[in-house]
């Protein structure tokens, strides 16, 4: 029997220094970019958390009062920091805009994939994908110069309102919801639909009983992604919602959201002051909500594989 296992020097053993160095260099370079990504994520979470907690730790604001209080008056003699109205505003515009965008987007997706696929793929789809890229300030500007006066003249109120914010956001997230729903419906196996038709189901029955249930997790993902975008959108909403900290009494009343209050004030308040710190706390709420949206999307996409 040849005994070779002990061999310690051979031209085929790793020894070429230059080559090893080059492989090592490559390894280090690509790994460092991965490390940068991890570092950024952790730094962002940690820094924003620390900064966001300052108002509770340093300034002694009660977190519960901060979240549930409805009186926001940072500049008065006895300042009060109740952010409930903004949290409510954020959730209200998010939910309402999803309520508008979801049926439109999914309906449009069904039209594009099931009723007129040729038309949908050639014309509608590229245009919708283009709309995803339109900057949010443009939506805000059109909302401000068209929607606000329209609501003022035909619906009532100042025009700057929860309703305006909702509509602007709905239009903004519509392309997102539509294009993801279209992908979801296109990804369904072909035989699903053919099987249903073969059993004599009508198109509507097929859509309702077979296609929508099969694509449900993906369709929900589309909606949640839209909601996440709506919740975090700042400028477009800020331009049309009025930014008044009072609780909106009706849908045509002015309102404010977490993002609009931050946008409006973070540049004007003194860095490190109580008022400034509370804005960072509002930012922390945004961050936490973003995490929650990501978790929901993860949960939905894990359901998708079944």
């Amino acid at each position: 029997m040849r005994n070779t296992t002990e061999l310690s020097s051979h031209r085929l053993l790793k020894s070429n220094k230059n080559r090893k160095d080059s492989e090592l260099k490559g390894n280090i370079i690509v790994k460092s970019s991965a490390i940068i990504i991890i570092t950024l994520t952790i730094a962002l979470t940690v820094f924003l958390s620390i900064k966001g907690l300052q108002s509770f730790i340093k300034n002694g604001i009660n977190p519960w009062d901060f979240i549930t209080g409805t009186n926001w008056n940072p500049t008065s003699e006895t300042p009060s920091f109740g952010s409930f109205n903004f949290i409510f505003g954020s959730f209200a515009v998010t939910m309402l805009s999803a309520l508008i965008a979801a049926p439109l987007g999914i309906g449009g997706a069904i039209f594009m994939t099931q009723i007129a696929p040729k038309w949908g793929n050639k014309l509608l789809r590229p245009v919708i994908e283009l709309l995803v890229g339109i900057p949010s300030v443009v939506y805000g500007f059109i909302g401000l110069s068209v929607l606000v006066p329209f609501i003022r003249n035909h619906v009532g109120g100042l025009g700057f309102s929860l309703l305006s914010g909702t509509i602007v956001l709905a239009i903004m997230i519509l392309p997102t919801v539509t294009s993801i729903s279209t992908d979801a419906l296109n990804a369904l196996p072909k035989n699903l639909r053919e099987g249903a038709y073969a059993l004599g189901a009508t198109r509507w029955q097929t859509i309702k009983k077979v296609l929508i249930p099969a694509a449900l997790p993906s369709l929900l993902t589309a909606i949640v992604l839209g909601m996440a975008r709506a919740f975090g959108e700042a400028l477009a909403v800020q331009m049309v919602i009025g930014n008044v900290s009072d609780f909106p009494n009706s849908i045509t009343d002015t309102a404010a959201t977490l993002t609009t209050i931050i946008t409006l004030n973070i540049g004007h308040t003194t860095y490190g002051s109580i008022e400034n710190n509370t804005l960072w706390s509002l930012g922390l709420i945004l961050l936490v909500m973003s995490f929650i949206f990501i978790l929901i999307i993860r949960f939905l996409s894990s359901r998708r594989k079944i």
Partner: protein, 274 residues
């Protein structure tokens, strides 16, 4: 029948270490080779010796582990995350399955050509020089010379000599495959592994490749996987029949195809399964 050889063309720090005892006629010794993909045991305890300057054919039904076996010889399975090989493959006195083997150096000596022609999307010339340049050959004259020599050996020179700088993707499938062979032999390997090299080609290209294999056998030890019994009997000196990961029979090709000792081999060769 053993002799002692000393490696002369490579610089090795410890000459006594390198004076290995090696069988003269064999280039590879496979001992107790087991290969796994995770839980899947793909190659079972294979024991075989591969002859030098001969063509060895691997045959067997689809999924029996031929490619897996072949790819372990130049460690191409390393890039499959859950693949694992146990046992020994001795080449030039060293077990090439060892962890500390420099697979880059190994693959230069044990070249591989794949089923589907896979030229780089570059010119014909660059396809050949890509690896040469990496190996440190920079001299233009030297490169030109190796390019011509390799293309001649691969019986492609006359067809491409006027368009060396055009895209390799414009060649026919058969030409592409010969280009792949040419760029592999440009590195002057000692072993050539061919995994169904002509199964994706038309009959004429196929015939050319077979002719080429017979030519190349003078300089290289060749292992070829094939599904084509006629090809195996035409080009190979020895044939190994695999079935479900087992090496069922390994013998001279003439014997395998005329009077195999195993019943299974006979059944497979006469087309009763597979």
């Amino acid at each position: 029948m053993t002799i002692t050889i000393t490696d002369t063309n490579q610089s090795v720090s410890n000459p006594t270490e390198d004076q290995r005892v090696v069988d003269k006629e064999y280039i590879l010794h496979v001992e107790n080779l087991n290969i796994y993909y995770g839980e899947n045991w793909a190659v079972h305890n294979v024991q075989m010796e591969i002859e030098k300057n001969a063509v060895t054919a691997l045959i067997g039904p689809s999924g029996c582990g031929k490619s897996t076996f072949l790819r372990s010889i130049n460690r191409m399975n390393d890039i499959i995350p859950n693949a694992r090989a146990e046992g020994e493959i001795l080449y030039d006195g060293i077990n090439i399955l060892r962890d500390d083997i420099d697979v880059v150096a190994l693959r230069k000596e044990i070249g591989m050509v794949f089923q589907k022609p896979n030229p780089f999307p570059k010119s014909i010339y660059e396809n050949l020089t890509h690896a040469l340049k990496f190996a440190g050959i920079r001299n233009k004259g030297k490169l030109d010379q190796i390019v011509e020599e390799s293309l001649r050996k691969a019986a492609l020179w006359d067809e491409v000599k006027d368009r060396l700088h055009q895209s390799a993707l414009a060649l026919s499938g058969g030409q592409q495959q010969r280009l792949c062979i040419a760029r592999t032999i440009a590195l002057k390997p000692s072993v050539l592994l061919l995994d169904e090299p002509s199964s994706a080609l038309d009959p004429i290209s196929n015939a050319k490749i077979e002719e080429l294999i017979l030519q190349l056998k003078k300089d290289y030890s060749i292992i070829i996987v094939t599904h084509n019994m006629h090809q195996a009997s035409r080009v190979s000196d020895k044939t190994a029949f695999f079935l479900n990961g087992d090496l069922v029979e390994y013998d001279r090709t003439s014997k395998i195809f005329t009077k195999p000792s195993e019943k299974k081999t006979e059944q497979y060769i006469s087309g009763q399964f597979g």
